[in-house]
Amino acid sequence: MPQMKQLKELEELEAAGPAAKYDFFVQWHLTERCNLRCRHCYQADRKETPAGVDLSLKEIGRVIAEISDTLGSWAKNYQMDFSPSFNITGGEPLLRADLFDIISEARAQGFDVFVLTNGTIINRQRARALVNAGVRAVQVSVEGPEEVHDSIRGRGSFSQAMWGVKNLLGAGLTVTLNSTLSSLNAGRMPEMVSLALGMGVQRLGFSRLVPYGRGSGLIREMLPAGQVKKLYETLLSLEIDGLEIVTGDPVASQMSIKNHPDAGCTAAGGCAAGISGFTILADGAITPCRRLPLPLGNIRTDSIRQVWATSTVLGALRDKSRYGGRCGTCRRWATCRGCRAIAYAYSMSRGEADFLSEDPQCFIEQDEETETAKFLPSLK
């Protein structure tokens, strides 16, 4: 009796009372068009679509309203208190002539808006327009000092990005510099800290290379797990006045939690895929994550609520028993799940294409095993 089961769920939810604010975000790639051709771009597998394929401003307005209605229904039915937001990106989102109208519409519907950009075409007027539209913060991708950055993103792109950062800061915006970590730049990260301080940005962030799209050619540049660990330990332990070190990496989020208890089989933290957001691509395709290109439907034809509840891909992402390797047996699974995009891209490079395989760069569980092994002899 499905309806009785559902009723019981709702009664239990009501008894539980309102939850704390739940961060729910949609990453929206407004266009595939870009003025750069970065060596590591995960988007580049998608053909740069002609502008006419992108969702129109009118369609985007309808989608924003649908997402708002969906969150409203979930909030009402399940007493969830959401903190909703959009990460607006591309391609290069500043290439959309109607970007500022889109941001204004999202703000008007109650969403926080963050913009992810390469920074290279942000003049003073556009920086001010971002402020006026209500953008909360801007992330600019910077891969290292000039010669490293230009070798990855193209000659001259570093100077242009710094010019954009200066204009953003001049307009009063909060700016994050974000680097994608690989062997191409790992040794130069201390210089990134100096650069961030020198530019006066508020945050410095790190992601790991996803060997997908054009980035699939950099599979050999993925860092070994031990090197990722050392880098994160160094970078995340920095305490610098006025500069926050951040990362969206679920594995990094585990570093501060020692002796993690078994968190069970309900995913609720770490990787956001399938539990606290989704991605919309320029042509309306819906995917679990910006870097995990598994189509769940299309926003032009499919209902978000229907997709969220019934997608088999999302169902698998939420099911621990479906996971392979160390992730499938990890007691941190519910609060981490590793990076599903890296797991997928890496397994694909080995001919398996399994988005539920283990995160090949995870070092956490290995550490705990090592610590246990060290402890065991003293018990004998």
Binding site: E9, A97, A282
Partner: protein, 65 residues
């Protein structure tokens, strides 16, 4: 525009607004949002119910930048 960076004077040419020409095109009349059936509603209730319980018992942070 002259931009000073690390003691160097860089001449960054301003980017004309003509580069901002991408806009989308509306595809009309294809989306039909139907009312959710009871099976879908049940799945939805189970998802949010489980998540809410987990958040209450084991508050954790979602990773995002």
């Amino acid at each position: 525009m002259i931009f000073c960076f690390l003691g160097r004077k860089l001449d960054i040419p301003d980017v004309p607004d003509s580069i901002l020409k991408t806009t989308g095109k509306e595809v009309t009349g294809v989306k039909k949002v139907k009312a959710l059936d009871s099976r879908t509603l049940e799945k939805e209730a189970i998802f949010w119910g489980n998540l809410k319980r987990q958040l209450k018992e084991n508050p954790v942070k979602i990773c995002r930048k």
